[in-house]
Symmetry: C2
Subunit: 323 residues, 2 copies
């Protein structure tokens, strides 16, 4: 399946079918934006003029806190409200993600026969930066396909996970007692970007302590100390029994109202679009460098660095100047 085969993709009818809630067309479009195929730009162009109204909610947290269970409980609650729900399960940190994501998918089988739910796993496949480009495009596909809410669930709480979760309008940090997650989360900076805290497994010992730790950290100030600023609420859940999910939905709705009221939603979406444009522009520059890679000029510069005639920073400046 070379370039010729990829070119035969007829994007317009595919987009039309996706907008008519055809799950296979949605899946095909996401595959196209994931694979960096020649059709990617055509898909992006076709989707650009179809901004939808999807609310995008990111869920992150350490392994074991019950992210998938919380996601699944949210899907059930939103479905009972007749919403169409998309789920992107993203593992940015590992090329060996098959296992974990397969586990998530198995747990999500509750929804396997529900036409109103679309679930997709995305892994990095070792391409650093690949997900940073692919996830926003996958979001656009689901948005254009008319999903009311899209949940982005990430595995782990590393920097890459925080970045992925931040692609959402609202970011939820899921914590649970007994895992020392508060500290881990603080290290990765996720406490700062979370809009809603969920203390899951709230029926277990230690849940009160997690809530107290969060309140204490909030009391230390930071960005939430200004008047009119959003103060992330703390919601207790037992997601496996659907307890607290109504409270979580209420907190999410309240955050959305706040964002719309003060212009924060537009500000966030603009900042994300700017970051996405920059990221794609860097990819374009990388391609141009790749075109000169192996060229006589770069080989000569590399030889000069190896032989000590110049340093790599000076050589890099010359390469940029030659663009």
């Amino acid at each position: 399946m070379g370039r010729a085969a990829s070119r035969t993709v007829d994007v317009a009818p595919l987009v039309g079918r996706a907008r008519a809630a055809d799950a296979r067309a949605v899946a095909r479009l996401i595959s196209l934006v994931e694979s960096d195929s020649p059709a990617l730009r055509e898909v992006a162009r076709a989707l650009a003029v179809l901004p939808g109204r999807a609310r995008v909610i990111g869920l992150t947290g350490a392994p074991g806190v019950g992210k998938s269970t919380t996601t699944s409980a949210l899907v059930r609650a939103l479905r009972s409200d007749a919403q169409r729900v998309g789920v992107l399960a993203v593992d940015p940190s590992s090329p060996f993600s098959g296992g974990a994501l397969l586990g998530d998918r198995v747990r999500m089988q509750d929804h396997a026969t529900d036409q109103g739910v679309f679930i997709r796993s995305m892994a990095s496949r070792g391409q650093l930066g690949g997900l940073a480009a692919a996830v926003p495009q996958a979001l656009r596909v689901l948005d254009a396909a008319g999903f009311d809410t899209v949940l982005i669930e990430t595995v782990g709480v590393g920097q890459a996970e925080v970045e992925i979760a931040s692609l959402a309008d609202t970011t939820v940090l899921v914590l649970a007692p007994g895992l020392g997650d508060g500290i881990q989360a603080a290290k990765a900076g996720i406490l700062e970007v979370a809009d809603v805290y969920v203390v899951n497994k709230a029926d277990r010992d230690g849940a009160d302590q997690v809530v107290r730790d969060l309140r204490y950290m909030q009391s230390l100030g930071g960005r939430h100390s200004d008047a009119g600023a959003w103060r992330p609420p703390i919601v207790r859940t037992v997601a496996s029994r659907d307890e607290g999910v109504v409270d979580l939905l209420a907190a999410l709705a309240k955050h959305e109202d706040w964002m719309r009221g003060c212009g924060e939603l537009q500000r966030r979406r603009r900042a994300r679009a700017a970051a996405e444009i920059e990221s794609l522009a860097l990819g374009e520059v990388r391609l141009r460098f790749a075109a000169v890679h192996g060229s006589a000029a770069l080989t000569a510069a590399a030889d000069r660095v190896v032989n000590g005639a110049t340093d790599p920073y000076t050589a890099a400046e010359e390469l940029v100047a030659a663009l």
Copy 2:
């Protein structure tokens, strides 16, 4: 300590002291190249004209195979040969690396009082691509400081670890029985880039099977099937008892001879310098984008993407064109 303080770093005497085997000066120079300080370029320029003769050996492998023990055994063997040895322990995958690297450092305490050994831990601190720039510069510092051999030890076998290990002249993959590492390693592509295989814990059950698996994979061909090509030797070690370390040193010396004889060493160093130049050039472009980030043009482009007036790919092309 702002820009003014950083500017007071007097690089030339620092380089002079590092070349006179002053460990504190070496440590200070590595901190400078790690921190992306204004002095970084000055250090790079001062080091460029001092290409040393350090042999660089990368060690990678899954957690638990005994990489640190193998590194430590190699250090002992090289020290008994009166070589000065540098060790860079690198964890590219996690911002939470303190624990693992601290563990390594504790194990390396055998060498803590030996002036001929310099050990340094480097972690990504959440900066994607940061290590890709910092590790080559740290290598240059150790090279200029006159170390005979530098060992780069990475944690794990992910794509980033493979890239770091590939900065070496010779890449060693450490395996051990009972961990299923063969499969993991194959996924990450490390089997393809390794020049020497070490089967550590060779006194345990299953070691013969690991050797057989490696031989079978080698028999399947690939890059090593050409006449005159390097066929990675398989060395059995029990690093905790220094067994097999002489064989490992012999295999490393043989690989070095082969590389020098056929021009592979120069080819590898040139390819690494070219990749480093490209990486630094991309960083420079990123800085230029950052300068326009928040500018009226980018904000306007982001708004047009949010509102569906254009797609991010077209906007990115316009941004590159505006450079």
